[in-house]
């Protein structure tokens, strides 16, 4: 059961913008291509406090909506899996 969930969130359900996200993160740390999608990006030293401001602007550009940290949990951006989920939901809202 959990194996199916994993494969569905990592490959088959990847949001098209994940390519851009991965491209951005690769510039920060090339290891992003090999890390698990449920691995914490901050602990893995891909994202840090200095890069995070720029990262949120990228998400804003991709979703067309600013990320309001008063209402959006930072944890939404700590793994590739959760970023993918955020983009998928965000796009859903945008087209609704």
């Amino acid at each position: 059961m959990s194996a199916r969930e994993n494969s569905s969130t990592t490959s088959t359900m990847a949001h098209p913008s994940m390519d851009t996200v991965l491209g951005f993160l690769r510039e920060l740390n090339a290891s992003v291509d090999t890390i698990a999608w449920d691995r914490d990006l901050i602990e893995a030293r891909v994202l840090d406090s200095l890069a995070f401001v720029e990262f949120l602007l990228l998400i804003e550009e991709l979703t067309g909506e600013p990320v309001d940290l008063a209402t959006t949990d930072v944890n939404n951006f700590r793994t590739l899996e959760r970023i993918n989920a955020f983009l998928t939901e965000g796009a859903g809202h945008a087209h609704a």
Binding site: S49, L50, V53, E54, E60, V74
Partner: protein, 291 residues
Amino acid sequence: MDDSGFSTMLARLSEKSRDEYYNPYTKFTWPDTVPEDQWWMNPDYLTVSGTVLIDDEKTLKALARYETVNFFSLHVHGIRELMIEVAKRIHTPDFAEYNEYLHHFIGEENAHMWFFAEFCHRYTGGIYPEAASPLRREGFGNLWDDVIVFSRILIFEEIFDYYNSRMGKDQLIPDILREIHAAHHHDESRHVAFGKQLVKRLYDRALAADPDRREEIEKYVKDYMTYSVRSLYNPQIFRDCGVGNPLAVRREALSHPVREAFHVKLMTRVDRFFVAAGIFSTSWGTEHVSA
């Protein structure tokens, strides 16, 4: 360590601070208004200079106004954060020999914060909020944190000085802006001279105690330089000047080859210092393809 040169410099800088002391609250003659049809920044120093991303003069003049507000806001927020760090260290045993000078530093930065914010509040809608990161920077241990704090101050001051030294004598911009830039440039020349010597000493001390973190520190300081360059391109200035697709314009400006070359030029002096001090094994500029 031979301290005589350093002590002499400290004494000389403190004396200069005393001699050149001024009352920031009475120093400037604030006009009733600052005309919006004038350039608040020389267009050569705008973030889109050298690109053709914005070509309409009205929008560029609006951008010059918002970039001025952003530039002044960066000082207010950046120095507030760094003054907290300096205030934590003054009159502690490790910083005892710097006390006298650090008093001047805190006093002068307090004055700068006031006049930069005062300009924004008098003539615009006020300062921009800070682009705070929701993540906390992890510490590198006390000795390395000292290096980081004063390296950040130095980077910050060198960026400001690049613009202040030029706009402080630029006849194109309104008098009050030229006077603010000139006043800041005057004080910062002392801060930069002090900062370089201090960073070098703090670095040598930290390296002797904990050499293993050297590479990590180099990476952090370089990342901070990149972060500082990006902060000049506050997304809000592009939204406020009324350009369509502000985030895309910002992103294209930031990665434009002319701008990347400019970023290297902007950072040359401080980059060269970090290499000469042994803090960088390679320069930020050569590795730095994309800011």
